[in-house]
Symmetry: C2
Subunit: 211 residues, 2 copies
Amino acid sequence: MSELEAKVLPEATVARLTQYLRALNALESRGMERTSSGVLAKEAGVNPAILRKDLSWLGSYGTRGVGYVVRELSEHINNTLGLNRDWRVLILGAGNLGRALSGYAGFTTRGFKVRAILDVSPDLVGTDVGNLHVESRSDLAEVVRREEINIAVLAVPGDAAQDLIYELGELGVNSVLSFAPKPLVVPRGMNLRRVDLSTELQILAYLAVQP
Amino acid sequence: MSELEAKVLPEATVARLTQYLRALNALESRGMERTSSGVLAKEAGVNPAILRKDLSWLGSYGTRGVGYVVRELSEHINNTLGLNRDWRVLILGAGNLGRALSGYAGFTTRGFKVRAILDVSPDLVGTDVGNLHVESRSDLAEVVRREEINIAVLAVPGDAAQDLIYELGELGVNSVLSFAPKPLVVPRGMNLRRVDLSTELQILAYLAVQP
DNA sequence: GTATGTGAAATCATTCACAGCT
DNA sequence: AGCTGTGAATGATTTCACATAC
């Protein structure tokens, strides 16, 4: 009711904004200074109408009859998504997936910094992963404080994930990306995104079976 | 128009069916033989009404006033999703992510078998990954034929992904799971799913910034 | 003339609520 | 009495189409 109430973008829009950002970067690195909804939509792999609708949530940043200034639009989306600050990421689980993620380029660009990696296994604690060394799961609280962690990535077996979620919640980390193959219940106020690799394969199997 | 036309499940339904399958397995391993939409929905983390609606696409497999037989329902979803056959998976890219995926449990259960892993780098070709050894990108066609690959997983840099898609299409592999941070255009008839790790982090950043 | 920004229409997905069967 | 299966209601998302601004 209040005019002051937060204007929240639809989730689908947020997901696409990240794609526009990537597309804008690609255009910029090709030396383009201006673009249009048609060009940008093609680059991002979406339809131009929805791109304009998405951008309209952010206000009017284009010029009718002309288009958009690449740098300006890119900057604006960046700010809207909160990518103009530092995000300090903790990876939980130093198995193959955890180690792969800690070095993954997308995880180390645009304000995201992997600051620590933890594991329960004494065999892994103390080993090196990139320029980090694996710390003990039991030091979770200390590590979160020391590194001022604000995003956690769960690369642990399903059984371990739920306990970690609660513990992270208590420690004030309320953005979590989980690779655990389990639905998880989250404390109030926590943001959870799940990536479920085996589900993706199963969906592909279904699609392949379709006539 | 025709009554013979394939009845296609909504994409969102397919995604949830994989979760029900996992939930049913969990119940079965706890010794439960029967269940209800309420119990199953709780276990899968969804609302009971949509669970029943999803299942209604498969026909009537429950008993009113009673519920579902765990084993029977599980079997039926399995068949619907095409998980009762063998899926032979090829991993493209033997970097950290490719190696992690090749050993990932979800990738090696329920009919999915990782049969080969390829890379362009001469440093990696010939090295071992689990019980496979890395073969050369240039042997793609031969490997696809030899191993009768029907699903490919792209764990390669964005620039390499598009060419691979076309080449896989020509070779008759038309189910692809891509981790490349790029929108890809697919040949007619190909099924592509994308997992975009940096997008997930960016969405979390936005959610964390919200009041 | 050209491309944006946006109501209105169309499509897709979820939730409600209850009739129907056991 | 209890739980499924499903139309009808609601809500979300996408597409259309055009008035508006340059």
